[in-house]
């Protein structure tokens, strides 16, 4: 029997499989709590702000924003890159950690994937409204048309972005839905009322959990994870190409793709922390999303925060080392120019604040982690603001230098986009299983300690069954170990 005494069990308390179902599906079946209703109402109100901001933008045009000839990209693209970045943790948790066989992902992958999808939905709004006329958004895909040479320019990273983001959204949705199907079937089988039974029955596609379904399910999850991993890296790489392929000093650096990907993972995990620290309290899921889970994420935040810090340093060094005066000027202007306050907010939030996670006390205190995660969110928003605005506002011609200040419409859209995000997240937390029930059950015994495991279902379980620690299909290990023998042995004792 292989046991790792160092590792904490992933789920606390001796749960039976039935209890796991009850704990996760319970909130869907019960009436919404007061805290849920309050949170949901607040989110919808903030979403109203988004509608107002977007409505004014569409009615008046982009003139309602603070953009000018010199700073033609500002809040909108900052928000776009910010939300896309947040959308990276979900796929990282569900795909990359699946490939690395990290069992701790099972408690958090569902909500992280949901967060990914909602963040990408938020991100998608900004290019649409910035384009000014969203009703002709269908000009972007290469549709046959009679308007002349209106094929998109396939050399342009902005066209790549359209394909990258929409592919990412589609594949994330598909991955998420595939995982949800067995859990929908669980909700269906537990439902007593007619309407929920019909709705969850419809979306569960008639799942029964038969041998072949599970067999294919696992293979599909594995291959999707294998494909989503390069996809998630490509998406933020392509987003960084929006800047890196231009000729603007401060943008056209080759470090951008890895630097953006690290930043995206950093901000994504920051947002997962913010959400889950609240959710585990409000939804009573502390036994499932444990301090251990939060600590693992804190480590990732520290690592990626440090990577981002190194990228800032490299960027600065390369600018100085290049001897290219425009590049040098841009970086000096970033750190000491009129937007220095934004630069130093970025530096302190992103580089300094995650360093406290070197201390175990900091990594295990939810309150502390929540505060740091807010810093990370703020810092990563300012990172994009710094990159975009400080590179633009003092351009090659001194006569066209200017300052950018957002209007209240832009502020409303930024704040309102959080309303959109949280409205979707609240709906998700009420109507969909917050935790991947079947995946948690599948890894439950592997990760419990011997004593807890024996207590499962109140019966003694043969102690020398070898648990197949990897997700592979080869069951040759099992063939060698005769479970039957071990069973009869334990009965004899």
């Amino acid at each position: 029997m292989v046991e790792a005494p160092i590792r904490e069990p992933l789920i606390l308390g001796n749960k039976t499989y039935k209890q796991i179902s009850d704990d996760v599906i319970g909130p869907i079946e019960n009436k919404p709590s007061m805290s849920w209703l309050a949170g949901f109402t607040a989110s919808v109100l903030v979403l109203g702000l988004f509608a107002v901001g977007v409505g004014i933008t569409l009615f008046e045009g982009i003139g309602a924003w603070g953009l000018q000839r010199t700073v033609g990209w500002a809040f909108d693209i900052t928000n776009f890159v910010f939300w896309v970045g947040i959308g990276h943790a979900g796929t990282l948790i569900s795909a990359v950690l699946l490939l690395f066989r990290q069992h701790w992902r099972t408690s958090i992958n569902r909500s992280a994937e949901a967060m990914t999808i909602f963040a990408v939905v938020c991100a998608g709004q900004f290019p649409l409204i910035h384009a000014g006329r969203p009703w002709v958004a269908y000009w972007i895909p290469p549709l046959p048309n009679d308007l002349g040479s209106l094929w998109p320019n396939f050399n342009s990273p902005l066209a790549w972005d359209v394909f990258a983001i929409s592919t990412y959204l589609t594949v994330s949705l598909v991955f998420w839905f595939c995982g949800l199907v067995p859990d929908f079937a669980l909700v269906r089988d537990r439902a007593t009322k007619k309407i929920p039974k019909f709705i969850y029955g419809f979306v569960s596609l008639g799942w029964t959990g038969s041998l072949k379904q599970w067999n294919r399910f696992e293979l599909v999850s594995l291959i999707l994870a294998g494909m989503a991993t390069p996809l998630v890296l490509s998406v933020h790489t392509i987003v960084s190409f929006d800047f890196a392929t231009s000729v603007i000093p401060g943008w056209h650096t080759t470090i951008f793709p890895p630097y953006f990907v690290a930043g995206a993972i950093f901000s994504g995990f920051g947002m997962v922390h913010t959400l889950l620290i609240v959710v585990r309290k409000v939804m009573n899921l502390e036994a499932y999303i444990t301090i251990n889970h939060l600590e693992q994420m804190a480590k990732v935040i520290m690592l990626t925060g440090t990577m981002v810090g190194i990228a800032y340093g490299t960027e600065m060094f390369m600018a100085m080392y290049s001897g290219y005066e425009y590049e040098m000027f841009t970086f000096m202007n970033r750190a000491f120019g009129p937007y220095a306050w934004a630069y130093w907010i970025m530096m302190s939030c992103n580089v300094i604040s995650p360093q406290v996670y070197w201390f175990k006390k900091a990594r295990t205190s939810p309150v502390f982690m929540f505060i740091i995660s807010i810093f990370v969110n703020i810092g990563m928003w300012f990172e994009r603001f710094v990159i975009i605005v400080t590179s633009l506002h003092r351009d090659f011609l001194v006569s066209s230098w200017s300052m950018y200040t957002p209007t209240w419409v832009e502020m409303a859209i930024l704040i309102g986009s959080f309303g959109l995000f949280f409205t979707l997240f609240f709906l998700f937390s009420k109507y969909l299983p917050m935790i991947a029930v079947s995946e948690v059950k599948a890894t439950y015994k592997l990760t419990q300690r011997g004593k807890d495991r024996d207590a499962l279902n109140g019966k003694s379980i043969p102690s020398d069954i070898v648990y197949d620690h990897d997700y592979s299909y080869s069951a040759d290990k099992l063939e060698k170990k005769t479970i039957e023998e071990s069973l009869s042995e334990s009965h004899d004792h």
Binding site: S21, W214, E218, P230
Partner: protein
């Protein structure tokens, strides 16, 4: 209509409440030369494929094929439109700029591979909207592990074999399979 589309096989249902007991039980049932029609579990029980001789799925090949399709589509779309249908001069760059076509080709490869594979998986596993499966045990998606053994009627031998394997409940039922050339979203009754 449904009577001709559904194939019925009499069977005995054995219900287990633990995955380890279930796995060991399936091995015992197999050793007694009983024919296992299917099994229903709330989560993938690892090792069951080897015990019940479930072949490895070919979905990986489907994914690869769809991926190749996506690759060809992505590349030919860009080369065709920008190189031949309406070549434009973008800053003096060549109309067929292959390195610039890498991102979209890659995205379409992934998109087609994943959508195609998941579509195939849904279709082959009869996961269709509106399909109403037969549920053999109400808790088979929660905490029960169900095995279906082919038997014309429940003899004491079969009952004992299942009880001995660790089943907490044994009962007679009918195993339903679709008898159509392709999966249909019908009610299994």
């Amino acid at each position: 209509m449904s009577s001709t589309l559904i194939k019925r096989t009499p069977c005995v249902v054995g219900v287990f409440d633990d995955d380890d007991v279930f796995l060991a039980g399936c091995k015992k049932i197999k050793d007694k030369n009983l024919n296992v029609l299917d099994a229903f579990t709330p989560f993938p029980v690892h090792g069951i494929e080897a015990v019940l001789n479930i072949p490895r799925s070919n979905l990986a090949i489907a994914a690869f094929m769809f991926g190749i399709f996506g690759f060809i589509c992505g590349l030919s779309l860009q080369v065709g439109l920008q190189g031949f249908d309406w070549p434009n001069n973008f800053g003096g760059k060549p109309p067929v700029a292959l390195p610039a076509f890498v991102p979209i080709t890659f995205e379409l490869t992934i998109l087609c591979a994943s959508l195609g594979m998941v579509g195939t998986y849904f279709f082959r596993s009869t996961l269709l909207p509106g399909f109403e499966p037969k549920i053999y045990d109400q808790h088979a998606t929660s905490h029960h592990f169900v095995v279906l053994v082919e038997a014309a009627n429940m003899t004491d031998d079969i009952k004992d074999a299942l009880k001995e394997a660790g089943a907490i409940e044994v009962r007679e039922d009918e195993y339903l399979e679709q008898n159509a050339p392709f999966p249909l979203p019908i009610k299994m009754k």
